[in-house]
Every structure is written in C-alpha cells, then in structure tokens.
C-alpha cells in the first residue's frame, strides 16, 4: 500500500497532487488571486527596470558606434581638447591606416542667445571622414557643385535635426559660443546619417567642415578627438606602445565603445537601487504567498492530518504544498514577464531610458524581447512563491496527525516562539555586512544588511506583538477577546503582518533616504550657490582674460570668482573626471567633509567624494595631474561633497593653474553684486557685453531647477513604494479574509453568547489594527535601520556621495496612522463575508 502512495509521478499520485493540493487554490480563489497579483507585480517591476536600462545602454552603444564609424581606437583629451600636432604624430605611425580628426561642440542657437536650444556640431575632415565615418557623410543638393560640402559656412544637419529645428536646405541659422562672436551658417544639405541611429539625435546633430568649425568657434589648432582605424594585423597594444610618450599629459587612447560602458557603469548603481525596490515588492509578494499558504494549511489542518492518517507520504505532502506555491509562482512569473515588458514600453515612452534620472538624455531606446532576463525573473517569481510556501509546508509536516485531527489544534500553528536567536544573529550579521567593500561597484554587503535587518524585524515580530497587546488597555469584552487572541496566537500577527512589515520597512527606508538626500542637496546648494548671479559659458567656448575684465567692469558687480571647467583622465580606460580651477582661498566655498594638509612642495587639490573613492586617496596623499601639457605634483588637501559629477571631480587653485602654465581662459563665474544692485539689470548688462555665448542665472532658479531634477529622478521610487505598500495591504486583507473564514465557528459561538455582528466586526477591526500597528512599528524600526544602511553604506558605495540623516517624522507618522487605519478597515471588510454566514450554520460544523 505504501508503494502505491510513493510512486512519484505515477497516475494515482498525480491525481492526489492535482485534486487535493492544486484544487485547494481554486477553493481559495481571492487569496490565491491576490498572491498571484503580488508575485506578478514584483516580477513585472523588477524585469521592467532591467529591460529599460538594458535597452537604454544598448541604444547608447549603437549611437556611440555610429558616431565613431569604423574606428578601432580614439585619441581623446579633456574639455579643451588637444593640439593638432597630435594628429601628425598619430598619422606618422606605421600601424595607423586612417585617422580622422574631429572637433565636437554644442553652440546655442539664435543671434542674441535668446533661443536656449543647442546644436551638436561635428567638425570633420570630410575626405578622411568618408573613409572612417561613412554614416556621417554630408550630401549637398544636386547641382550645388563638387566643393559645396567644403563651404566655410556650410552646415549639414541630420534629417531629424532639420525637422526638430525647422530648417530647410538653403536656409540659415546663427550659432553662438562663449568667447566668440555669433556666426551665421547656411544649411547646405543634409548629413546622411539616420537620426534614429544616433539615439534620438539629442541635441540635434549637424556636420560641418572641420576648418570652418575651428575658425568660427575659436578652436584653430585644436581637436576634440581623433578616430583611428588600424592596419590589418596591428593590435591596440602595439599602437599604445608606439604612442608612449607621444601624447601630451591628459590625452588618452581609448576604444570607441568606452563611452557606452562608462554611461552603463554610472547608471548601474541607480538601476541596482531601483531593482532592489522592485525585488522588495517581489519579496512582499513572497510573504503574501506565505500568508496565503500558512492560513490554507491551518484551514486544512485536519484534512491534511486525515490524509497522513490514511497513508499519504510526508514527502508527497511536502511536494503537494510546495506545488501550490510553485503554481502561483509560475503563473505569476509568466504574467509578470508580460506585464514587465508592457510596463517597460509605457515607461520608455513617458520617462525615457533612465527612468527619469538623466543618465541617458537624448537616447530613445527601442524595446526588444530577450529570453535571459524574462526566464530569470520568471524563475525568481517562482523562487519567491516557493520560499513563501516552504515554512507552512514544514509546519504541516511537523504536525502529529492524531493531534492535528483534534478540534482547536490549529491554534498551535499560531503560537510562534519569539526567535530572539535569529533576530540577534541577523542583526549582528547585518552589522558585519555593512563593513564589506563594494563588489563590482555594487554594495552587495549593504543589500545583504538590508535583508538581514528585515529578517531580524520579522523574527522580533511575535514577541513585539505580544508585548504591545499586553501593554494595551482592554476596557471591554471585545478588546479583551481581540487581545487574548493576539497574545495567545502572535503567529497570527506574523502571518498577517509579514507583508506589511516588509513593505513599510521598504517604504520608510526609501522615504528617510530620499528626505535625507533631498535635505542634503538643499543644504549643499545653499553652500555652493552663495553668489547673487551665476554665469556659464556655452557652446564649447571660454572667456579670455579680456572678457573677464569686461565682466569685472560691469557696474554693480562687487566681486567675481571665476571657474575653469576642464577634465582629466587620471585612470586610463575609465571616464575622465572634472577638473575645476577656482580661487579657493579667495573665497569659493567648498562643502568639505574632510580636510588635511597636502605634502610639502605639492600644490593643493580638493577631491570630490567620488574622486576620492575612485582614486583611493586620502588627505595628505600625492596626485600628479596634467597642467599646461606637463605632469605637475599636487597633494590632496581635502574632500568635498559633490552631487553633480558622479564620475568624480577635483578642484585646484587658480593661482597654481596659472603658475603651471594652464590656459587662463575660464567658463563659469560666481558674481557678487554691490548692495542694492538689481540682479536683472546686471544680467542684461552682461548679456550685452558677452553676447550669446553665455547663460546667466540667479541662484534661486538654479536651486529650483536642481530640485526639480531631483524630484523627477526619485518620482519612480515613490511609485515603487506605493506598489509595495499596496501589496502589503493586500496581505492584511487576504490574511484576515482567510482567518475570518477559518474562524467562522468561533464567530458563530460568540454570536450565540450575545456578541452582535457589529461587535464581531469591531473585534476583527481591532485585531487588524493591532496587527498592523505591530507590523508598522517593527516595519518602521526595520525601515529606520535600512535607511541608515542606505544612507551610510549603500549610497556612499554605489554613488560615492555622503548625506546627512534627516527623518521626515510628520510624513512617517501620517503614513503609519493611515496604514493602520486602512489595515483595520481591510480586516473589517475581509471578515464581513464570514460574518454574513449564519452563526447557526457555523456552530454546527465540527470544531
């Protein structure tokens, strides 16, 4: 007989699994549907985040490859480029088959600088470019003559740029850049490149002769980059060895695809954070499966005991219960994949490939189906559901059939022992994980600590529930009954509140982290924007000393602090860092987080936190930097907070820069006005003096724009938090619905003893409220711990910036009260169905 039951996969066994176990999901349709929805949402959100990001990175890569054409390597310099002599040295190398010089600028449109739209101009040597970048080939209209493409005022926008800017062949447009007078260009034809291949073509792109671009924008003798094609058989390392010592300091050889991987690396941490949120939603879904299965096992306790009594194998019982979870996980996973792709398509259309964060501006990704993430996330959904079904299955296996067949035995399931050992081990483990360094730039230790904090919170929930309920006043029979239930069966709270705890912890952690970040950004903006006006050069131009004097001479200006914006590639093959040249000691405020003294004989350099982490330096360390074409000795004098340049930035003294022979031209200025001077009047005067090549802003507008960008970046996190909390509330509703069904005999008996329907409803609402209170309270505690991990570990490791902790007490309190109220309502409504059944029928069922 035992063999009959033990034949896995055989007909009778499959029938048992199908009819007894899977059929139970159909009996509890609402709870199963909500579990399914939770798993579906979790999978969909996680997959959508990944798919969107991958599509954006792939599109960026396509755009980089189109612009680079058939180049094998590129010589790139800083913001101000490098001298044309480098081209001669490159062309002289025997391994180089072709080298195409490029000047890339972004001037503003309009003669007076009033039109703030920009155009991205690629100045190309058209003969060389034809061989190396055929996709960018300019095409003059028929009959324009063979040399039309070399006209000194000829511009060849892409078809997309023509449409965006309303241009037509034969028309003209004025372009402005800092330090040079506005120039008028003639639309001499179109560039052959397909706009879509350039990632949405943002800003609109045009091609022109390199000589014309150099001449008209003050770049004579300088290049932005050189695209190189190697002779067959020549390797990158051979060229690298040949160029050794031939490239000026700060000029590097890199592969064209590096831009793609740099952008991907920058956005990866943001994506990992979003994925974490989505996985948390999936985790909450897993807890919902746990609640559904735990209650289902309680409801079927005598049924399962009976099956065991008549010979059902323990292994088959476990298989059956896990099969129920697997069915939810599988269907949820498949639906989640479909919903994830639909969601990704919608989000790409509305927010773009960076989910609002600004990493892939101008990239218009196309969505493509890929099996690997689809299968991966579907499996993850199934794992979450199986994990949810695991604990109830274990409990069912542990039950002694004879005992479980007895009336009232189900209360044993709810008598959870407080797991102090698990709680302490989790919290200690989490603390240890916080000290691990990031792995592949991702704070895996931090995320592990987040999980440990959650597990610790869940382990403490039964004890906390008993303590809270024991402490509460019990003035009447209804509150006394509710309190007795929760005190004797704190496991009920664990089952119902596990989802709430997880979602509240997540939402609270994100709320605290975002509030901390936002307040830190506000404080930071106050520190870095102390002046009355800010001037910024545009179009790749710079202001020479003469123009600096003009600015200083404008009436009403008391003081001007100039900044030169350059870039420097300190680590080969990695993204360059911003190099800011400022008069630090003369009064430019740096939001320092750490100070030190540079080594003797070295000029001071102040590193941003990101630069410090990427370079692995501390105050007092030496750092050679290229200035004026030579390497100069600098020493780290401090570390400052920078929320703008995630790739890293460093500040050096203006006097040192000039002393070492650096270019005296500048790009930005902080302008302090004399008392009583109108900023608007000075801005107008500056526009008159400098023309269209500069943008002048008041700090209030800059602050507003920065915070608007911040809020846009984090908008998607609020959405994910909302979804997680909604899933948590589903948890309360489904748990109480299932528990109310399981307890309808109890309600029937209470109705016999004189409890009215309303009183039974109040009892359920109280249980829901207290359960949610415990879940929310422990969730807030765990959320606080997770927020601390996010602020102190995950953010510094992922984004390389620190922030001060700010807790939005009022919002959190309002959120907690609302959630507890909603949970009470959900429990009350969930119990309604059970109460509607006759008390008479209920007590007639065998207890």
């Amino acid at each position: 007989m035992a063999g009959y039951w033990k034949s896995p996969g055989a007909g009778p066994m499959s029938a048992v699994l199908r009819r007894v176990f899977v059929a139970s999901l159909l009996r509890q349709r609402l709870a199963a549907a909500l579990s399914l929805l939770a798993v579906t949402l979790g999978v969909a959100l996680a997959l959508a985040v990944q798919v969107i990001h991958d599509a954006a990175v792939a599109e960026l890569g396509r755009s980089v490859r189109t612009l680079a054409g058939e180049a094998d390597l590129q010589v790139v310099g800083g913001k101000e480029g490098f001298t044309e002599e480098v081209l001669d040295r490159v062309l002289a190398l025997s391994g180089v088959e072709e080298a195409s010089p490029v000047v890339e600028l972004e001037p503003v449109l309009g003669p007076g600088g009033d039109d703030r739209r920009r155009l991205r101009i690629l100045g190309l040597d058209l003969f060389r470019a034809l061989r190396l970048q055929p996709g960018l080939r300019p095409m003059a209209p028929e009959g324009a003559g063979r040399l039309a493409t070399l006209a000194q005022d000829g511009l060849f926008p892409t078809p997309a740029a023509m449409t965006d800017l309303g241009l037509s062949v034969g028309g003209s447009l004025a372009l402005g850049a800092a330090g040079v007078p506005p120039s008028v260009w003639r639309v001499a034809g179109q560039s052959g490149v397909d706009g879509a291949a350039l990632g949405g073509d943002w800003p609109p792109l045009a091609v022109a002769d390199i000589g014309a671009v150099q001449w008209r924008f003050g770049w004579l003798g300088r290049l932005s980059r050189i695209d190189i094609r190697l002779r067959p058989g020549v390797t990158e390392s051979q060229i690298r060895a040949s160029l050794e010592g031939l490239l000026p300091a700060g000029v590097e050889l890199q592969r064209p695809v590096l831009g793609e991987s740099q952008a991907a690396a920058l956005s990866r941490a943001y994506r990992v954070n979003l994925t974490l949120l989505a996985v948390m939603a999936l985790l909450t879904g897993g807890f919902l499966v746990f609640s559904t299965q735990a209650l289902s096992v309680v409801r079927r306790r005598s049924e399962l005991a009976f099956l065991r009594a008549i010979g059902l194998d323990r292994r088959v019982l476990a298989q059956g219960l896990l099969l129920e979870g697997a069915v939810i996980g599988l269907i949820g996973g498949i639906l989640g994949v479909g919903m994830g792709y639909a969601l990704a398509a919608g989000v790409l259309a509305v927010l773009g490939g960076d989910l609002g964060a600004g990493y892939f501006q101008g990239v218009a990704p196309a969505l493509g189906f890929s099996w690997r993430p689809a299968v991966g996330y579907a499996v993850l959904g199934m794992v979450a559901a199986l994990a949810g079904a695991w604990a109830p299955a274990r409990e069912a296996l542990a039950a002694v059939p004879a005992q479980a067949l007895k009336a009232g035995d189900e209360i044993r399931v709810f008598v959870f022992r407080p797991r102090f050992g698990v709680a302490v081990a989790s919290l200690c483990g989490g603390w240890v994980l916080c000290w691990l360094p990031p792995i592949w730039g991702i704070s895996l230790g931090g995320y592990g600590a987040v999980l440990a904090a959650l597990v610790g919170g869940l382990a403490l929930l039964p004890a906390f529930t008993s303590a809270v309920v024991g402490w509460l006043p019990r003035p009447g029979a209804v509150s006394r009954l509710a309190a007795c239930r929760l005190t004797a069966a704190p496991g009920q709270a664990v089952i119902a509140a596990a989802g709430v705890l997880t979602s509240v912890a997540l939402a609270a952690a994100m709320a605290i982290m975002v509030a901390s970040f936002r307040q830190s950004v506000v404080d930071w903006l106050d520190q870095v924007l102390p002046a009355d006006l800010y001037l910024r050069s545009v179009g790749g131009g710079a202001l020479d000393e003469g123009r600096q004097d003009w600015v200083a001479a404008v009436p009403g200006i008391a003081r001007v602090l100039w900044t030169r914006q350059d870039s420097v590639r300190v680590i080969p093959q990695e993204a360059p860092m911003a190099l800011l040249v400022r008069p630090v000691t003369a009064g430019v405020a740096l939001p320092l987080v750490n100070e030190g003294r540079p080594p003797r004989g070295a000029a001071p350099v102040w590193l941003s936190e990101s630069a410090r982490d990427r370079l692995g330096l501390a105050p007092g360390d030496r750092l050679p930097l290229p200035v004026g074409g030579e390497m100069r000795e600098f020493g780290v004098a401090g570390v400052w907070r920078d929320y703008v340049r995630q790739q890293g930035a460093m500040v050096i003294e203006q006097d040192d820069w000039r002393r070492f022979g650096g270019d005296p031209r500048v790009h930005d200025a902080a302008i302090f006005l004399t008392e009583g001077t109108s900023p608007g009047a000075v801005a107008r005067a500056l526009n008159e003096v400098l023309g269209s090549g500069v943008e002048i802003s008041e700090p209030g507008l800059l602050r507003k724009a920065s915070l608007a960008l911040f809020d846009r970046t984090f908008a998607v996190t609020y959405l994910l938090e909302g979804v997680a909390v909604a899933i948590g509330l589903f948890g309360i509703a489904t748990s109480f619905a299932a528990m109310a069904t399981a307890r309808r005999r109890e309600f029937g008996m209470l109705r016999h003893l004189g409890l009215s329907r309303r009183q039974v409803g109040r009892m359920l609402a109280l249980e829901g409220m207290w359960t949610a209170t415990a879940g929310v309270a422990v969730g807030l505690g765990a959320g606080g711990a997770i927020a601390l991990i996010l602020v102190r570990v995950v953010n510094p490791q992922s984004f390389h910036w620190s922030m001060d902790l700010h807790v939005p007490w009022t919002s959190l309190a309002a959120f907690a009260i609302l959630l507890v109220g909603l949970a009470a309502l959900a429990a009350r409504l969930a119990g309604r169905h059970a109460m509607e059944q006759g008390a008479v029928l209920a007590v007639r069922e065998d207890w």
Binding site: D409, R485, L753
Partner: protein
C-alpha cells in the same frame, strides 16, 4: 420564562415544522427529541433569536423576539440565555478561566471581577484550580464541563443545550448531565435540552417529540 406560540419554519419550499407551542416556567426542564433533520436545532435557534421563524412568535423573559433587531437580540442572549453545544465550542486562544468568564465580560464585568467568579464556577463543575490552563489540555468530558460552567456563570433565565452529550462516552455523559441538572436546579433557570439520547432525556422534567406538525409528548 419561555413562551413559544404557533411557530413555523420553512427552508425553501420545504416545511420543517409548524404549530410549535411551548410554555416553560423558571426552573423547568424540557427535553426535545426527534429524528435527524426534523428541525430540533432549528427550533432551538428560533428560540434563541438566531433564526427567524416564518410564522408564530417567541417570548423570552417577557420580551418578544420579533420586535428586536440584531443588537437587541444579542443583548437578550447575553443577558438571559446560556448555551451548551455538542462540539463544546471552547475558544482555544482563551484560558479555561477566561472561557468561563466570557459571558460576564460581555455583560461588562472587568477581568478582575469576573476571574474569581469563573474560578468558583469551575470548582462547582469539578475543575478547581484549572482556570489558568488551556483548553487543549482537557478531555472531551472536561471541555463540556467548562461549557456548562460558561453557560451558567451569568445566571441566565433560559438554558439551551443542543446535544450536550453527543460527543461524549456514556460515563462522561452521565456525569455531565448530572452536573447540568444540578446547575439548572441551583440557578432556577428554565432549560430546553435537544437530544437524540433517551438516557439524556431522562434527566428532564418533560420529554417532547418534535414532528412536522408540532411538539407532542414522547411516549416512553
């Protein structure tokens, strides 16, 4: 204490019973017998105001049930009615003492006041000192004794017992019935005992049989 007049109940188109009449003064105990499905429990539920009859009326302690809403019926039950069920229905998450004290809680008594009375009641049913224990620690007979204590603790005027010995063996059944009878006599409550068992019915003052056309005296 209990007056039932012309009571009829249908379920769908099926007539369960009609013309049921019963008058029960305080201290009297009647046993109602009948075949399975004849409507014994339905009659009990109509008497308790848990089921609405299709015709006739029920008066408990001078109050007509037809005039009461759910709140009023609940109040009447917690004040004047005690229940004993076949399946005991002892709440597993309350201690034994709390289960017994439950009717007093419903009448507004504090835990501290209800506790000693529950302990005294448990002593009366032979379970002295067990008030701190849990229902899962008790046998079937002991659970029904707890149920009797719970049914009598608030001194109801009417006790309704539905197959009180249905889940017990003969030895336990005899002890439980003796206890029940003693409790009824001591409290002066009127009692309706629904049962299949002639042994159980023997403990009542009168034995009636429920038929579709009303209650008729049971012939021994």
């Amino acid at each position: 204490m209990l007056v039932v007049n012309g009571l009829a109940r249908r379920i769908g188109s099926r007539l369960i019973f009609q013309n049921v009449g019963l008058e029960l003064p305080a201290g009297a105990c009647v046993a109602i017998m009948g075949e399975s499905g004849v409507g014994k429990s339905t009659l009990l539920n109509c008497i308790a105001g848990l089921d609405r009859p299709d015709a006739g009326h029920v008066t408990v302690a001078g109050v007509g049930l037809a005039d009461l809403n759910d709140e009023g019926l609940s109040r009447l039950r917690r004040t004047h009615v005690g229940f004993i069920f076949q399946a005991f229905h002892i709440l597993p998450h309350l201690t034994i003492g709390q289960n017994v004290a439950l009717p007093l809680w419903l009448l507004g008594e504090s835990e501290s006041a209800a506790g000693p009375r529950a302990a005294a009641m448990l002593e009366a049913v032979g379970l002295a000192g067990r008030e701190g224990g849990w229902p899962r620690e008790l046998s079937g007979g002991e659970l029904q004794r707890v149920a009797i204590a719970r049914a009598l603790i608030h001194e109801p005027g009417l006790l309704l017992a539905d197959e009180p010995t249905g889940n017990l063996g003969p030895e336990h059944a005899g002890r439980v019935l003796a206890l029940l009878r003693a409790g009824i006599e001591q409290s002066g409550a009127a009692a309706v005992l629904v049962t299949h068992s002639r042994e159980a019915a023997r403990w009542a003052d009168r034995v009636l049989r429920l038929t579709p056309d009303g209650l008729i005296p049971e012939v021994a």
